[in-house]
């Protein structure tokens, strides 16, 4: 049961009311999408996240079908607006 740290930023942190949470996903082939589904179940405000938000695993942007492993840090990122 991979244990995943999930981080929320900017508007998403406002929606969820938190910066960080931890979720467990089942199986050895869990993906970011699975993490996202689990977050929606456990973090009340997360229902209002968009269906397919930008995501990063361990500081690198990934697609939602990217695999996650125990100890990974998954970040859910509002549309980027740097510069």
């Amino acid at each position: 049961m991979p244990n995943i740290t999930v981080r929320f930023f900017a508007r998403y942190a406002e929606l969820t009311g938190c910066d960080t949470t931890a979720v467990r996903v089942s199986g050895s082939s869990a993906t970011v999408a699975d993490v996202l589904a689990r977050v929606r179940e456990t973090v009340p405000g997360a229902r209002d996240l968009p269906p397919r938000p930008l995501a990063a695993v361990n500081l690198r942007q990934v697609k939602l079908d990217a695999r996650v492993e125990d100890g990974d840090e998954v970040a859910l990122l509002p549309p980027l607006s740097g510069g």
């Binding site: 981080r7 930023f9 938000p53 500081l59 549309p79 980027l80």
Partner: protein, 153 residues
Amino acid sequence: MTYLSRNPLAVDSLLARVQSPERGGTCVFLGTVRSDDDVTGIDYSAYDDMAVAEIERILGEAQERWVNARVTLQHRLGLVPVGEASIGIAAAAPHRDEAFAACRYVIEEVKKRLPVWKKELHADGTTTWVDPSGRPHPLTPSPQSGEGERIPR
């Protein structure tokens, strides 16, 4: 090297990081907070660790592509008042083509890839999150169409 800073950016220190007697052309880009509508400033926040990692990747790519160039950048975080710079990029190279190209490459990639967010502060005390297309996000939780369509790199 501090790529992220809460203090005003100093062009001279950016220049000092990239210029050398072998590099005859230097191109600098500064992005400053514009006085749109009733905006008084922008509050910048970042996923700091990832922003630094992404900056290092972007600069590394520029370095590979323009091997004789040196490029650096600094992104400011926190409240940036109208008229002050939120980002500064400096690229120096033996010739100007490379300096312009490397500088341009970095700002375009920053706009696409840096995990940094802007919250506009208005004269009436309200705030809005800025959408990358320039449309403001209302703070009410209505998912924007297209927001999830972006293909991560």
